[in-house]
Assembly symmetry: D2
């Protein structure tokens, strides 16, 4: 941290700050310039609240030199983290596609969709069994029955399962059935849940909060990694802005930004980002062009009758077309879409 | 819900929509205008996803007539909800002041601050024992020891206690010590927690999420009320915008908006909204002038050494000054600040 | 400006930066810490693009020490700027009220409204003759005829005139009739206009752009003041956020923020900020409570038939009530509402 | 427009609204449902302020059926507008690349860059001669001398010129030298300028305002088209959000949205959207993948010494690499990059 004193700060003010930081175990490197005195604070400043420094008498401003996250930073680990689950690698050269219905609604529905997306090339089956809904009157998911269906469908088509965990009390149950634990946007700062995910032996797929800065999002990943679970992947899924034509604004630039700041894989979810079926395909292509390590897409064979998010689910034939297009786009940047080896 | 068909929508498209809604148990009122056919959907449309309607072939647009919340709406209950806890009423003519430290740090600290704010006129003591922190490396609160201190301090000075619950697992413990359960901004859409709060016999203080629309915020209140707990109060605490000079942007207009849409009490928290001590006082005054039912303010006798949020905590003498000013402002709108009867 | 080098920056990288800044006439103060080398850049860094520094090889980050604005800063001029126009002072202890219709629609309409607001205590008459409208098909204002009506009405009731200038070509004409030149939110960064306002001998009322940061807003004031016109007053009028219930979000905290950063007067416009009549009164009160130097309010005797912004115009009797309330609120902070001496 | 009455609206309230709309020349189609009375307003409602309807007594809500823009809407003109300038077509199957320096700084600089980008495939040379700068102390452009250099460079390399016009007074001068008139984000609602552009015989490149909704952006295009100039192309260049890591947030989803709502071409400017050189390439690729009709990219042979926006300018070899990548991506969606026929 660097603290910049005001032009007319008194010697007493400078010393008061040095004393206070010294009390807390920091070393201070003082540098007296023509106009301003600078104080470099040495030590683990991640536990300092920068606002406390900014309002001290005589202080003009204060800045962090180091990011508040450590273990997830590119500086900490220069090489990309590659998460291996069975025959799938996330974060390497291959781009992974996760697809499936928004909610598991029935065995039949899930089997049909899983069969289709597997054939088209998806390696991971998504589907919600516990659904966070903004209305208490909406469909809340099938619960454990849904988890069983997901597992059965994925096994049949040689896929992995990803599903959302909303609460630490669900963690043990969900871990029995899933390969990847999804944390939804609304839980990105559910710190109790994050801490528990740090102790679990399953990879975590951490969606960005709807109004989370990139730094806050990385701090939430830091919670999980600092708890002992290094297999975290980040997922951009749209942020809230003033524009309401789309459900959210898909911040695709977050993909190269995360790639620069962190060694963790970063994926994109164009379905939730746009909320409109005919915008999902161009945005999925854009995410791949921007360098994502994977995409998560909602697909439904009968979206008119979907119990949730039908409006943003692709028809199976649209999903096929998308797969064909991103296979070409991946080549443009020297990558490829992960393909099922048995097909 | 009203569905507006495109100018050139076919009869078949209109009938397809009617059929589909009929399947789901809705009645349709069809009206054929010069340019557009309108379909009025009759029944409980809160379970319909409006986007599903908007993307159906032939549909130009669709709108909700009724708000998706019911029990918390002004339409449902014309009279203001007044929450009575011991000798305090929230939501009536008197404006209630909640004050105290951000975190309970020690018995001594809490006693000093509680004594001061009680004397100045605060009727409710705030203080965090479990702290949601964006960094895993920051102070996380004293836990149960903190709750005990809060209770002791409040009892000594004849105050109520309000403290934050982050997780349903903490609920039983916290209920032993507190009078009001605070839900923080990050948990406004922790639906598991909200559902559990619906079954508790304590009033809930529901902070607005940092990027929650007013409608989403009311929907979260609906979760609690629909579970059986009618004593919910809303707290505006700043929203995230592009402006970064203040920590958040205090959306004071939300106060009269909630008053119009809902019968629930609405309060303001200028400390979190601004994050800067010298902005807390003018914003607290503004909230009172705008018609809030109460304010929550952080106060610390030694903010330089506070373990959290020192930068936004008022000095005790600033708090005294604020109380004097809002006593006058309350009069301008025919209200008064709730005063302790024993003092 | 302070440049912070990366931990592992090479000596060559440091020297490259020093050389480049030296070329541009800056002196460099180098300070070698334990982890990081810091470079303090001395000279007029307002012409440096900070992003250029941030992306140089070996640079971890760069920060401005000084604000990019100078003449409008509190540092440049500790005392409040008080703008005197005839018998009115803006920026002193008295709070000034500007009121009138959104648009001048007819002589009769303007006379009725002016008479009413003058009697209630407004000292400045507002009204648009040239209207910036987002649709080319909307009413665009009466032009010069409107200016004449405004002047006549103000003179009759011993008021000042404030009206909007959209374009430098209108400047000479408008200056013949008005006392204060209003710059609308959409023109806050019309730099050609700002430069011309710097040469005019009339005070300028500079509205904040709908998505302008406080710093950008002050930079626009700097354009005018650096051109030679020191009589600039700032007007907060709502910013664009994700919340759509109100037309904009009234950022009342900008009032104390501007007061701290600048010596210029700062006013508030609750009519445009909220866009809804019944929210204008509480927000006007809140602005006064927060320390504004004045408010601008739209009033119409027959808002149902207003040609623009009827929905946010107060009825005359609402305006009377507001005046009564803010007279009390002003007292709470040791100020008073400016009153007409002849009434 | 559809007006929805409250459940308990009185017959008198309904009639009052009908009368008032009748006065203004609208026909009303009344439909009485079980719960709500609906009023369909027939006529040119683009001149009605929807807020006026919403606040009338007895009204629950009001919605526009038709967009307020007409001439630029897809409904008005189903076929894509293709703008032909010499041998270049914008809006057809080929994707056009515009490249060049942020500002024209000297003849030598412009010639070097133009030669490079022409060779790599750009068909249009960009460069600013009049620069809108947020600081009055920054470089403001070379003016007419810059225009001459741009023209000379473009002619030498068989390119078109695009350059920014800030003010209607510059229009005649700039038209002498340029092929396309660029309107910057800050002038998107400079209505005086827009009206004058409607009378000019040159295509207009209309950048989206930093906080403009898609509808406002289309309304600004409507200003130009309704004035008589049908050759307008839209350019997404990033919107302001809470995320500050990038300069703006590149709203790539606006590309397919504009394509759906309007027949006008839509382009993307990843340089201003991100503000950071190493984010420009992935975002340019993403825009092409999303279906843009063209991209505008800043290139500089010596960005370290650029007088403006050096931080976001590509090195020439980066531009070459980008061209190679987007040639492949265009194929994925059945399009191609426009190539110079002489090369």
């Amino acid at each position: 941290m660097v603290i910049i004193m005001e032009k007319d700060a008194s010697e007493q003010q400078v010393e008061h700050i040095i004393e206070r930081l010294d009390e807390q175990g920091f070393s201070i490197h003082r540098s007296t310039g023509v106009d301003h005195t600078l104080l470099g604070v040495i030590g683990d400043t991640s536990r300092l609240d920068i606002r406390d420094m900014k309002i001290m008498p005589g202080v003009a401003d204060a800045y962090r030199i180091s990011a508040p996250y450590k273990l997830v930073s590119r500086e900490f680990n220069h090489a990309d983290t590659i998460i291996k689950i069975k025959d799938v690698e996330i974060g390497g050269n291959e781009i992974v596609v996760m697809a499936g219905p928004c909610s598991v609604e029935s065995r039949e529905q899930t089997m049909i969709i899983a069969g289709h997306v597997a054939k088209a090339g998806a390696k991971i089956l998504r589907g919600g069994a516990f659904k966070p809904r903004s209305s208490p009157y909406s469909f809340q998911g099938m619960g454990e029955a849904g988890l069983k269906i997901l597992r059965e469908a994925a096994d049949k088509y040689n896929m992995l399962v990803i599903t959302e965990v909303m609460d630490r009390d669900q963690l043990d149950l969900i871990c029995e059935y899933t390969d990847i634990l999804q944390v939804g946007a609304r839980n990105m700062q559910n710190f109790t849940l994050l801490r528990n995910l740090g102790k679990v032996n399953k990879p975590v797929f951490l969606k960005r909060g709807i109004s989370a800065t990139i730094q806050e999002w990385l701090m939430s990943a830091e919670y999980i990694v600092s708890g002992g679970n290094r297999n975290v992947m980040m997922c951009e899924r749209g942020i809230r802005t003033f524009e309401t034509y789309t459900r959210n604004t898909f911040d695709i630039s977050a993909i190269p930004v995360i790639k620069k700041l962190s060694h963790l894989p970063v994926l994109g979810d164009p379905s939730h980002a746009t909320g409109i079926r005919d915008k999902v395909i161009p945005m999925a292509r854009a995410a791949v062009a921007a360098g994502t390590d994977g995409i998560m897409v909602e697909v439904h064979h009968d979206p008119d009758h979907a119990l949730s998010d039908g409006a943003q689910s692709l028809y199976p034939e649209q999903f096929d077309q998308l797969m064909d297009q991103i296979r070409i786009i991946a080549k443009a940047i020297g990558r490829k879409i992960a393909e099922r080896t048995d097909s």
